[in-house]
């Protein structure tokens, strides 16, 4: 494994530490492993291989996510999932999946450096996100276990409510992260 200290987060130029008093807390969890998993759930071999390596079948209900040990699997499409692993484990999981899925129509692509994760928590978390996310984030509608791909301002994001109800995690693309960070900092002026 390469030296983790040589990594730089895409948010290296953004400081979320000095936000307004009533602003939600914005915290990056950098350097997680992200695998883009493709396959057909109609193919039992695919489902079985995923179950074997990740300990859980890929969710088939749209806009839901499952957890299994250290892994989380987000539904992204009818044949597409995002597997989140702890830091530095994406390569290992990718190899295991590749081995199990050698003869099965599937694709496992490492996108670990392509994404990063932000936790947005606190009283005004929904308010901040709904500043320019068109999705209804109300807890009656968007519950733990659900996830969605949508947009924030003019960039895409994958969002899920946190289990403890304290807020949301959002997964954003590396190249848009700085823009989203600046947009959120600017939006927080409201929360003086």
């Amino acid at each position: 494994m390469p030296d983790l200290f040589q990594q730089h987060s895409p948010l290296v130029q953004i400081d979320f530490g000095e936000l307004q008093d009533n602003a939600p807390t914005i915290e990056e969890t950098p350097f997680l492993g992200y695998l883009n998993l493709r396959g057909k759930t109609s193919n039992m071999a695919f489902v079985a291989a995923v179950l074997k390596v990740l300990g859980v079948e890929p969710p088939t209900t749209a806009n839901t996510m499952v957890e299994s040990g250290d892994y989380r699997i987000y539904w992204l499409g009818p044949d597409e999932w995002l597997v989140i692993t702890p830091t530095g484990q994406a390569g290992k999981v990718q190899s295991e999946l590749n081995a199990e899925l050698k003869d099965v129509f599937s694709s496992i692509v490492d996108n670990s450096s392509g994404l990063t994760l932000l936790k947005i928590t606190g009283e005004n978390a929904t308010k901040l996100l709904n500043r320019d996310c068109p999705l209804d984030l109300h807890p009656w509608v968007f519950k733990p276990g659900q996830c969605a791909q949508t947009r924030f301002a003019k960039a895409g994001m994958t969002i899920a409510p946190l289990r403890d109800g304290s807020g949301f995690e959002i997964i954003i693309r590396r190249s848009f992260a700085d823009y989203i960070g600046l947009w959120m900092q600017d939006a927080c002026v409201e929360f003086e």
């Binding site: 390469p2 040589q6 129509f105 670990s112 450096s113 994404l115 709904n130 996310c133 068109p134 301002a153």
Partner: protein, 1002 residues
């Protein structure tokens, strides 16, 4: 400064808090809770502006959003706001207001000379007079704009912040009067998610003026209690100072909330306005109704005011709009104004009622209060200079079509008028429900809903309290039920009030011939009178939409809220048809004006207007002085100036350093797509123009993608990583489009193909190491790869390591040099870059940006899709037919290559250009001609697509698309420029440097 017009007690103003303000440079004071209009009236100021065409004196007419006259320029400089409605502007300390449309001043207006020539300026006057001769329009326009302008646009940048917010709810109630509050209460109590928006500072609407009782308490107490109950509900959101200005498809409403406009400038800290984008399951429109003015000669004189506005000023603001009032009505509601005036100590000269009889309970109450009522009468004219001093009253025939008898002159300083009510059907109409004319009530009622919405209360033509509350409770219950909540709230109780029928009166009959008497105004802001509409009809404009455009009726900042219905009535009468047949103009967003700032929100400036995408090495580029260029949404280093170098100096240095030793370019922005699956190669055969089946693993190939029209769409190098695994590069700008394009073919046309596509653009950071010393640099950094020329050939791909980090190295070149592209996961991008910089130090490794990249590739004649192509260029036009497979029977776009147009011999083809003067660089985009002296129009031969000074060649180079250019090598073309300069150039091939390609293959 006089305060004669403030009542001693009452009103919803705070007399403890005096507010000082300025109007037209003069100081006044009012109280907190006043509007600018009520404060001016309290100071005895009625005349606040001049009309736009005739510059007639105009006064405050209404007390709400419908106000056509009392519009002001607020503040100066960067905080200035044009055309603010004084009837809605909350008074704040040091407010600075001035009249619009007066020059040089309100009292002495030079342009009022127009008034004397009014008869010569009928409807369509500007069209008829100034549009001809055409050449003079520009001169006329300048004068007309100055004479007719409303407020002035701000000339400085807006210092305020604006915000957007999305919201969702079960029920959105628009309008916080008693009907809206009741609907919200019913659904709120049931537990539904409710939003209630109201344009005023205080909830309660017109009922705030009322002495009525609801549930056995005063209306104002009931309002206070209800608002408090709603505020305590967790799932209910109340927005005040929030105007719903647009009702769009799928119950999507836009609401503009004014957050700081009511505060003194010094206290405005946070965002000024917030635009809410609300998606509601159900909508209740409780937008109320607006009273109509009556139309008669000189009905625009200051001191003429809507009857309901008089009540509002008296009851809500404790202001006497006059000392002696004449009330002129055709319906019952103005009788309440008589009672309100009496209670406030205003002398009532007479109530003039157009109806032959009036015997409702309210009318009788007025009579028993000793107030004289003249039935079957009409005000036919007013007198006075800048304020009404008396009115003329005559007998009116029962059908309202003629006046007769002697003229009574009645002195007064206030004329309260009411021509009935118009439900505010704007949002209902915008939602798709076509408003329906109701003859009995003489009003347009909301039409049949096409979305999940319902109108209640006055907005539904229900003008009495009891029925409004009943409707509202039903609507609130129904909305909650539709969202799955059990709701059965009883309507708050109130007393019923019977009223008598209205006598529709669109214009008081004139005692003069048509167009001869004094003007009777329909649309006061746009100076449209009865005679203008009649003239338009005579000239053949019969559609109400045409009459609107010909006369400008309803075009003002008030959008004809007061005048339009009267205007339609006048038109219907003129054409001898019903109003139902005449119809309404279309109600469109925005209900009231919305500032540009509010629409932009925070999406402003270099950083937030559009996403700025950055690579993993961005901070390094910044630290090392790069100038940046926008490429699509990406910020790419453009060049790295040293010691104050100009662009040209830096680029010349970067080019020479790269060609002579080694340069390094951040190539991370190229699109990258993994193509995986058994049918990956087969799929690429269809997507690209060339062959892919036989490409060896570990090898790369350049390919063109075409649209089905055969034109070049994208290009790039694709590497075969494994038998069923390709790694595709796209152009920087084309990445998202190419992925969507390929997904479309897979998902919709060839679902049987076993191929998965995954974008990895953001995952990889890429450094292109370019130049004769590039092999030395990359081999010093990357382990585990044999970099020898024989074992790592041009278009080979290898996997190695930088320390413990896996990297992929592709030997590809966009410069004609020996070059390697090193790829690592982007989290390690900066680490890789710094390792390469360190290893390259002994070779003076030179970072270069997009400008040098462009020069280097142009020296080799390499095209950039989107610069040298524009969607109308084929591979053949580029002279690159070698990239077209001769063996494949089909690929996307292939069939189009045999279309007659694609086969034309005179298509624009890519050629090189060398200028006669080696230092002259032809501007990109320059048109080329064969004979610059030819008579106009000069036939065009083509245009320049790329053009640079090449330090390596020692002369300028250019690429151009020239008609039949492939057969014109050696011929001369000319680029005539806008400054009359003509640049002479010779057509060459496009390869200007190292024609044999020895360097790339070194």
């Amino acid at each position: 400064m006089s305060k004669n017009y403030r009542l001693a007690e009452g009103g919803r103003i705070n007399r403890e808090h005096t507010v000082n303000f300025q109007f037209n440079g003069k100081s006044y004071s009012g109280f907190a809770g006043d509007t600018l209009a009520s404060a001016l009236l309290a100071n005895g100021v009625h005349m606040v502006g001049r009309s736009w065409k005739y510059h007639r004196p105009r006064g405050i007419l209404s007390a709400g959003a419908e106000e056509p006259n009392a519009i002001f320029q607020l503040e100066k400089g960067k905080y200035t706001v044009p055309n603010a409605r004084g009837t809605q502007v909350e008074l704040y300390d040091n407010l600075d207001a001035s009249s619009v449309n007066c020059w040089p001043s309100l009292d002495f207006d030079l342009m009022s000379i127009n008034s004397k020539f009014a008869r010569m300026m009928p409807a369509g006057f500007y069209y008829k007079t100034f549009m001809w001769p055409k050449s003079m329009w520009m001169k006329y326009e300048h004068f007309i704009r100055k004479a007719s302008g409303l407020g002035e646009s701000p000339r400085q940048n807006d210092p305020d912040r604006y915000e957007h917010a999305h919201a969702h709810c079960d029920l959105l109630v628009v309008g916080g009067g008693i009907a809206g509050l009741t609907a919200a209460l019913a659904a709120g109590r049931a537990g539904a998610r409710v939003m209630l928006v109201d344009e005023q500072a205080e909830f309660g609407g017109l009922t705030l003026n009322s002495h009525a009782q609801i549930e056995g308490k005063s209306a104002s107490q009931w309002i206070e209690d209800t608002v408090a109950e709603l505020q305590a509900m967790e799932e209910v959101t109340l927005l005040n100072r929030a105007t719903a200005f647009g009702y769009h498809d799928y119950n999507f409403l836009t609401v503009n909330q004014r957050l700081t406009d009511h505060l003194p400038l010094s206290e405005r800290k946070s965002g000024r306005e917030k635009v809410w984008q609300i998606r509601a399951h159900q909508v209740v429109l409780a937008t109320g109704a607006a009273e109509r003015p009556l139309v008669f000669a000189n009905n625009d004189r200051p001191g003429v005011m809507l009857a309901s506005a008089v009540s509002t000023y008296v009851n809500r603001y404790a202001v006497k709009p006059g000392n002696r009032v004449v009330i002129f009505t055709n319906n019952d509601s103005a009788y309440q104004t008589a009672l309100d005036c009496k209670a406030a100590g205003i002398e009532i000269a007479v109530v003039v009622d157009a109806r032959a009889q009036s015997s409702s309970e309210l009318a009788n109450t007025v009579r028993s209060a000793g107030i004289e009522v003249l039935n079957g009468s009409a005000v036919v004219d007013t007198s006075g200079g800048k304020h009404v001093s008396s009115v003329k009253v005559m007998n009116l025939a029962a059908d309202g079509k003629s006046v007769s008898g002697s003229v009574k002159n009645i002195s007064c300083d206030l004329l309260a008028v009411s021509s009935g009510w118009s439900p505010v059907v704007h949002l209902s109409s915008q939602s798709g429900a076509k408003a329906i004319w109701n003859d009995d009530q003489a009003m347009f009622l909301p039409g049949t809903p096409t979305q999940a919405q319902v109108s209640v209360g006055a907005a539904n033509g229900t003008l009495d309290l009891k029925n409004s509350l009943h409707q509202a409770a039903l609507a609130g219950n129904a909305a909650a039920k539709a969202c799955g909540f059990d709701s059965d709230m009883a309507a708050p109780s109130a007393e019923a009030l019977a009223s008598e029928a209205i006598l529709p009166l669109w214009q008081v009959p004139s005692i003069h011939a048509s167009g001869r008497g004094p003007k009777a105004f329909v649309d006061m802001q746009n100076d449209v009178g009865v005679a203008d509409i009649q003239l338009a009809a005579r000239e053949g404009f019969h559609s109400v939409e045409h009459v609107k455009r010909y006369t400008a009726m309803g075009f003002g900042t008030d959008q004809g809220k007061l005048g339009n219905i009267n205007g339609m009535g006048v038109l219907a009468q003129t054409l001898g048809q019903s109003i139902a047949e005449t119809g309404t103009t279309t109600y469109r967003p925005n209900y009231t004006p919305v500032s540009f700032g509010a629409i932009a929100g925070q999406n402003l400036g270099d950083e937030l207007f559009d996403p700025v995408r950055k690579t993993a090495m961005h901070a390094w580029h910044e630290e090392n002085g790069a100038e940046f260029e926008n490429v699509g949404q990406w910020k790419r280093p453009w060049y790295y100036p040293r010691n104050g170098e100009s662009l040209d100096e830096a680029v010349n240095r970067e080019c020479l350093a790269t060609r002579e030793s080694v340069g390094i370019l951040d190539a991370s922005t190229l699109g990258k797509i993994e193509v995986v699956g058994r049918d990956a190669a087969k799929f690429l055969e269809m997507i690209y123009t060339n062959n892919w089946m036989k490409l060896e693993v570990g090898k790369a190939r350049y390919g063109f993608m075409l649209g089905e029209d055969g034109m070049v769409m994208d290009d790039g190098v694709t590497v075969r990583i494994a038998e069923n695994h390709f790694y595709m590069h796209t152009t920087t700008g084309g990445a998202a489009g190419v992925l969507a394009w390929m997904e479309r073919w897979l998902q919709t046309e060839w679902p049987e193909l076993e191929v998965f596509l995954t974008s990895v653009t953001d995952h990889w950071a890429t450094a292109a190491v370019v130049g004769p010393n590039s092999r030395r640099v990359v081999s010093a950094v990357c382990d585990g790869i044999d970099f020898s020329a024989d074992n790592f050939k041009f278009m080979d791909s290898r996997v190695g390591k930088i320390g413990d980090l896996e990297c992929r190295v592709n030997r590809i070149s966009f410069s004609g040099e020996l070059a390697y592209e090193v790829n690592v996961p982007a989290n390690y991008g900066r680490y890789m870059w710094e390792e390469l910089m360190q290893a390259g130090a002994e070779y003076n490794i030179t970072p270069y940006g997009t400008e040098t990249m462009h020069v280097l590739r142009a020296e080799k004649g390499y095209v950039i899709v989107g610069q040298d192509t524009d969607g109308s260029v084929t591979v053949e036009d580029l002279g690159m037919s070698w990239a077209l497979s001769k063996t494949k029977t089909d690929y996307i776009g292939k069939r189009s290559l045999n279309r007659p147009d694609t086969l034309r011999k005179d298509r624009k083809q890519l050629v090189g250009l060398v200028t006669e003067d080696p230092k002259t660089v032809i501007p990109e985009g320059a048109q080329l001609v064969d004979n610059p002296g030819a008579p106009m129009p000069v036939p065009m031969a083509g245009h320049v697509s790329s053009s640079y000074y090449s330090a390596c060649c020692g002369h300028s180079i250019a690429m151009a698309l020239v008609k039949g250019g492939h057969h014109r090598t050696g011929e001369t073309v000319y680029a005539p420029l806008a400054n009359d300069r003509v640049i002479k150039a010779t057509i060459t091939d496009t390869n200007f440097y190292d024609k044999e390609g020895a360097k790339a293959n070194a």
